[in-house]
């Protein structure tokens, strides 16, 4: 491998660049990023950055003295992959010749159809999104968050801290039931009511009203919730449109093996756009966690440099965290396969809980609310059981 192109300049892309250098790759390295910014950390965008306690400089992922000997092409989008010619095509007409490619193009926030061009309506994915939303939140008013998932809940929590009047609308009967299960989803999303934030569940959004600027969210049951600002937090879709004519296998993102390999030789994929095979589960899972974007490039780069000749190690159970209303929420494993959830420490009413999910008696996931010490112990145990 003489030239590697890393397509995507966020955490997964940067981690791939670091892994390449760490694993001894000394050749040419080109990083392509559609945003103008150097790699930055996204989790604070809905929390400390949005509330104004953390500035932009602190979001930088690179250290001051870091020199990865890479060429950075920022503010330009990859528009195609020509595998036969070993070329990545760029939106400005340029081409990058590379015999190794790391796909790390991430995911994009889903939007609400019909909300385009209406002022006061936001999604939150990028630094520019966060800047725009922060500017609006500081003016105060009534915020309606569409979607009670983690992004929506974190934005609601931050807006509550900033003193806004906040309503969260969730189409499902229980928010977070997908990632946390019904029982714990209900307990975690009770944090909204604890702080006087209204939570409307089990009702869909019909549309938004407003001429040039949004003034209300229209619900499917006929109600209308007045709004000065609306945040749409209804998930993300993988950024893989640019690969449509590349011949690469796509299925809910780039379809990958357990080591990051794709259907094309010399091409691996990591991060939110990559749908890796989970050997323990026996099916593919696209994981959108920060820790996956940070850790999986190590394996994918090893695959790339070895030409697929390495046996992938057993990955740790996926881990993510969320901060809401001052409560540290942590989760590891998979809730979906569990047949029981028990509270092992703390009390749900105190929002201070360590809950273990089991399947046929074996722990498969763990949730912590303000329990970092116990959580880490269970997380380690989960990894030991799983491997």
């Amino acid at each position: 491998v003489r030239t590697v192109a890393v397509v995507g300049a966020s955490l997964a892309g940067l981690s791939a660049v670091r892994s390449l250098r760490k694993q001894g790759y000394g050749g040419r390295l080109v990083v392509i990023g559609d945003e103008l910014h150097r790699p930055y950390d996204r989790p604070p965008l809905s929390k400390e950055f949005l509330s104004g306690t953390l500035g932009e400089a602190e979001l930088a992922l690179e250290t001051d003295d870091e020199d990865l000997q890479a060429q950075w092409l920022l503010g330009v989008r990859a528009t195609g992959l020509d595998h036969a010619r070993r070329v990545v095509r760029l939106g400005d007409g340029r081409e990058v010749q590379a015999d190794g490619v790391v796909i790390a193009t991430g995911a994009a926030a889903r939007t609400l159809p019909g909300s385009e061009g209406l002022a006061g309506v936001h999604t939150l994915r990028t630094l520019d999104d966060a800047r725009a939303l922060r500017d609006e939140l500081t003016r105060g008013g009534r915020l309606v968050v569409i979607g009670g998932g983690f992004i929506g809940a974190e934005v609601a929590s931050t807006a509550y801290i900033l003193g806004l009047d906040v309503t969260v609308v969730e189409a499902a009967p229980t928010p977070l039931a997908g990632p946390l299960g019904e029982t714990m989803g209900a307990i975690v999303s009770a944090l909204h009511a604890d702080h006087g934030v209204r939570l409307e569940c089990g009702v869909g959004v019909k549309g938004l009203s407003g001429e040039t600027r949004v003034d209300a969210v229209l619900l499917e049951d006929g109600r209308s919730i007045p709004a000065d600002i609306v945040v749409v937090g209804v998930g993300a879709r993988p950024n893989v449109e640019w690969l449509a004519d590349s011949g690469i296998a796509l299925d809910n993102g780039v379809k990958c093996g357990a080591d990051g390999r794709t259907s094309l030789a010399g091409v691996v994929a990591v991060g939110d756009c990559a749908n890796w095979y989970d050997p323990r589960a026996g099916f593919h899972r696209r994981v959108e966690h920060w820790t996956g974007a940070r850790e999986r490039p190590d394996a994918a780069v090893a695959t790339l440099l070895a030409g697929g000749a390495v046996e992938p190690g057993v990955p740790r159970p996926p881990y993510f965290w969320s901060d809401q209303y001052g409560v540290k929420i942590q989760f590891a494993g998979h809730a979906a396969g569990a047949d029981s959830v028990t509270i092992e420490a703390g009390a749900a009413d105190d929002r201070d809980v360590l809950a273990v999910y089991r399947r046929a008696g074996d722990p498969v996931a763990v949730l912590g609310m303000n329990q970092p010490r116990l959580f880490t112990r269970w997380r380690k145990q989960l990894a030991a059981t799983a491997s």
Partner: protein, 120 residues
């Protein structure tokens, strides 16, 4: 100055002991039997590294998975960017002692702001 931390027999391998001094310091006993002392607070955000995931000569922050090398204090994995201080450890008569570094600590922004009297 040597500060007594704990008895060695009370600190099994794979465990950490936090000294509640300001800023706090933790002593780690690795699975290989080595002892290391570093600042307990992650340099990224307020979290106790004693609660973290100890593996080899590395500890992973319990919250955001930053990794620090116990031998040097260096950052091995983001989101942290600044190293933690390391402190000298000695064992005498079964007692673990720590000699504190005289370097300035790298505290996370929220703690630095609190110490300066600003908003946390």
């Amino acid at each position: 100055m040597m500060i007594p931390a704990c008895r060695l027999e009370d600190l099994p391998r794979g465990e950490a002991h936090r000294l509640d001094i300001d800023p706090p310091v933790s002593v780690f006993h690795t699975d290989d039997g080595e002892l290391f002392a570093i600042d307990d607070t992650c340099t990224h955000q307020d979290a106790s590294l004693a609660d973290g995931w100890l593996e080899g000569c590395e500890v992973e922050c319990p919250l955001h998975a930053s990794k620090f090398d116990l031998r040097t204090g260096a950052v091995d994995a983001p989101p942290a960017k600044l190293p933690v201080r390391t402190h000298e450890v000695a064992v005498e008569d079964g007692m673990v002692y720590v000699r504190l570094s005289t370097d300035a600590p790298n505290l996370p922004p929220c703690i630095s702001a609190r110490l300066a009297g600003g908003p946390a």
